[in-house]
Symmetry: C2
Subunit: 334 residues, 2 copies
């Protein structure tokens, strides 16, 4: 049995969507057991008892807008997030899924789960949709604002292995986010990273990728420093939101338009779902001793279910064990 800790109190729709997502997960996936961390009374409003779901009572919560995430974790050791993270360290659970505040989750994971010794920096890596029904990993989406190029290489190793084991890509390709496609474009950091990626025999490097290809990239992993990748992620989100708004404004114009909109309703729903984060699941935090998955704060039950399924899959494929082995052998080489 794969044991998954669910932080039931984090996110915009807690605990309802977390509980519904967990219920769907035990129904659909046979080899998992879930522990919900949170307020038992609130959880029981939504939970139908199930022999593979149990509850652990928590106290206090981590505020989504918390300015000092480390202090938030340290002073809320009995919060649902802290208890769930600690349970992974104690090996009571194999993975944790939370849609709580990102910075608090990263800080908490450092303190309560611990960093794997082979990776110098953690990274947060969402999986995003593309126009060609594939998906790509974007990293580092906010872990490290400034980073050494050699740590980016470690992160690319992790992402390549994740793409292979979890996304089923035979030979994952890595691209460097940059303002031009030719070698030599960008800042010193980008040029140094380019050189390291190009030299590395274990990374299938496609070179610089401009974000004007961001929803149809020629690779499975897009990498930059944490500031730039976070800007890319938020710009995708903002553009999708803005375009959705404009599309709605335009489509309802005129009588013919209104009828057209009605007939297209189902197709527009599918379009919306393809752009929605819930289809893809959560973002894994790379570089920890345990599996920590961040689900979107706005996740509904479907998104939360996908994040749980993803967590189970990462445990089942022993992604962390395999990454450790790869990084270990690399450091032997050098």
């Amino acid at each position: 049995m794969i044991k998954i800790a669910v932080d039931a109190m984090g996110g915009d729709h807690a605990p309802k969507e977390q509980v519904l997502g967990a219920m769907k997960a035990v129904k659909e996936i046979d080899d998992i057991e879930i522990t919900l961390y949170g307020d038992e009374t609130s959880i029981n409003q939504y939970l139908k008892p199930h022999d593979r779901i149990k509850i652990v009572q928590s106290e206090g919560t981590i505020d989504m807008g918390e300015k000092d995430p480390i202090r938030a974790i340290r002073s809320n050791r009995k919060s649902s997030m802290a208890l769930a993270l600690s349970s992974v360290r104690k090996e009571e659970n194999d993975a944790i899924v939370s849609s709580g505040a990102t910075q608090a989750l990263i800080a908490g994971a450092h303190i309560l789960v611990g960093r794997m010794k082979q990776m110098k920096r953690t990274a947060i890596a969402p999986v995003l949709p593309t126009a060609s029904h594939k998906a790509f990993i974007l990293l580092d989406s906010g872990g490290n604002l400034e980073i050494k190029p050699e740590y980016m290489v470690q992160q690319a190793h992790f992402a390549s292995l994740y793409a292979k084991e979890i996304l089923g890509v035979e030979q994952p390709k890595v691209g460097l986010i940059n303002i031009g496609s030719e070698e030599g474009k960008g800042r010193d950091l980008d040029n140094e990273a380019y050189r390291l990626f190009k030299e590395n025999p274990h990374i299938d490097f496609v070179g610089n990728v401009e974000p004007k290809e961001v929803l149809d990239p020629p690779c499975d992993v897009l990498i930059s420093d944490g500031f730039t990748a976070n800007i890319v992620m938020k710009t995708i989100e903002g553009t999708a939101k803005g375009m959705g708004k404009m599309l709605k404004q335009e489509l309802k114009r005129g009588i013919l338009g209104k009828v057209g909109l009605l007939l297209s309703a189902k197709n527009l729903q599918n379009f919306k779902r393809r752009m929605s984060p819930s289809e893809i699941g959560g973002a894994m935090i790379y570089g920890l001793k345990g599996v920590v998955i961040k689900a979107q704060g706005a996740s509904k039950s479907e998104g939360f279910y996908n994040a749980i399924r993803q967590a189970a899959h990462v445990v089942r494929q022993d992604v962390i064990g395999k990454v450790s082995a790869v990084l270990e052998s690399k450091s032997d080489e050098s």
Copy 2:
């Protein structure tokens, strides 16, 4: 009469769309005269003679993929771009519009038009659509990869004045692109820029703006360093392109969907036009002694016409003169 130089040979559809755009411009705008720089024979294939359009023959062209833009300009002094730029320096024209290679245009403008002494760095500033039928200025979209925060303040002055005089915004607001909205987010550069903007009594600063609001920003000017702003611009482009593709894939599914698509055709065209750069015009290069407007490489006649109209408007409002006066008085104060 406002005199405008048009580089007829730059861009994906030259000279046809440039010539058609110029013809529309003299028809719609009474107080302009246009000089087309390019190959007379090719231009005459599309040009209907007009007493306010003349042609100056050029020799050689600037390659769009040119790796060394400065050399490209220096060794092609008789190219359409170089001749058109020089005509502004010589005061034969008041402004130039080109859809040639961006880096060559920036380099050429430095060499052949010259930098205004009050501004330490040039910046390229496209005007982008928003979901609320307003527009915003994004800068610096690729001029300076790394920049000092005090130069960002000069650029924000320029953009504020442009927003007022050209976009008609009563009191333009400026936002700093960042990964979080709270003060203290981001890199050292962002924090230093934040402090300078906040202190400056002449800039109406709204604070940090996350790109998840990029098509509906709470301000008229969004600013960052040249690397970051270029990444934002290209991510908007890539997301719009990718979403357009997904939308097309989804909307044509099923019989009902196909009928719906047919009925929505006109509305979808309007939507596409709102997202298209041709609706807004070109990007002005700030910080030069003359008016230099970069139209998109893919511009069709409508986009080129808009860029010419914009150039005329910038001359008419004496934007450069007003910016010089403002920056002059600022430096007196300090």
